[in-house]
Symmetry: C2
Subunit: 211 residues, 2 copies
């Protein structure tokens, strides 16, 4: 009989200034990496074109969101730009981790910092940064989603958000997409080889002792 490593699921918090290509990278990771799932966030903002409820987000009313806050259903939540709520529900994460699945939480920098400060959650955090503000500006313009006023606002936010790098476990520069993707995969795969994440350590010792 050959031994296999069995590891505890890991929660990956992935954060980035908007326009860093985070969503594209996460999409590719989910397509290409086995046993990796996405934690769908709750939000009070309106769905954008093409966004599907229960797939991209759970779109809920402010009243519903605040009710969930009251009943302590969120791992974290934040109000972004003093406007919309975004939050991660406990039920989206914990059961999968127990099943040995890795979970990606796509979260804004403010939300990520909030989780880190609380310090009651076991996770690995990854910060994706653009190669420069100039490049970020170019991408936001190319994306054609935001007005120039909105883009300038995002760039100021991005500049502030970069300072949060120090709080993250890992950093990936998204210059060439394929390289950034490969780096993210390395980070996820390496976690699966951590001895402290093994759930079948005793089984391994037994396996070799009995032969």
């Amino acid at each position: 009989m050959k031994i296999n490593l069995k590891h505890k699921g890991e929660l990956f918090i992935i954060s980035a200034p908007s326009g860093s290509g985070k969503s594209t990278l996460i999409k590719l990771l989910l397509e290409q990496v086995e046993n990796l799932e996405y934690s769908i966030s709750y939000t009070t903002r309106e769905p954008r074109k093409g966004e599907v409820n229960g797939k991209d987000y759970f779109f809920v009313s402010e009243k519903e969101f605040e009710k969930m806050i009251e009943s302590n259903e969120f791992i974290e939540y934040a109000r972004v730009f003093d406007k919309f709520y975004y939050g991660t529900a406990k039920k989206q994460v914990y059961s999968r981790i127990e099943q040995g699945k890795d979970v990606i939480m796509d979260i804004d920098v403010q939300g990520a910092y909030q989780i880190m400060e609380k310090g009651n959650l076991d996770f690995t955090s990854i910060f994706i940064i653009p190669p420069s503000i100039e490049e970020l500006k170019k991408r936001l313009i190319d994306r054609g989603r935001d007005s120039m006023e909105e883009i300038e606002k995002r760039l100021i936010t991005a500049k502030n958000e970069i300072k949060y790098l120090r709080y993250f476990d890992y950093v990936v520069v998204n210059d060439i997409l394929e390289e950034a993707l490969s780096s993210l995969k390395s980070i996820i795969f390496s976690e699966r080889h951590k001895v402290k994440r093994l759930v079948n350590e005793e089984e391994i010792y037994k396996h070799f002792a009995e032969e």
Copy 2:
């Protein structure tokens, strides 16, 4: 200008029961991974066929080795099977780390444990294990280097060595060579993305603040 991550070199201690395929894996890693170098060990055993002094090992006399011990030139050393000395010289490791190069130290389990116990060295440890003792036996026989008596002795040693798994940071099962190689690469690459290993963190903040 685009930002690049600059990281501090990391020392990787790779250990395994003999016959686990460690040497082959390390050879492939050194061929395929940039900025990764090998720390050449000192030993008092005779060179095996094809082994080159200053490439595979520094082959020295017992007297020379003991002189190096006295002058505190080793990070670690051990006497294996009460017979030969093996040791890692400080000069093989520290200067490369400072240059930002990752260094692989190929070391027996006893030597690895000795380093861990001392606790005065910064490193990442990787334990390579065979998929089973049966498979290990098969590989040792196929290798055709040791007598059956020697093989049985190695198997007993291997069984004992597996217990040291708990002291390592990472574990890789060498069942399919290509997969084990890929796992090792992930571990090495992921280290290069650790925020705490960055040497140009301040430069990154400055880069984004000034734009």
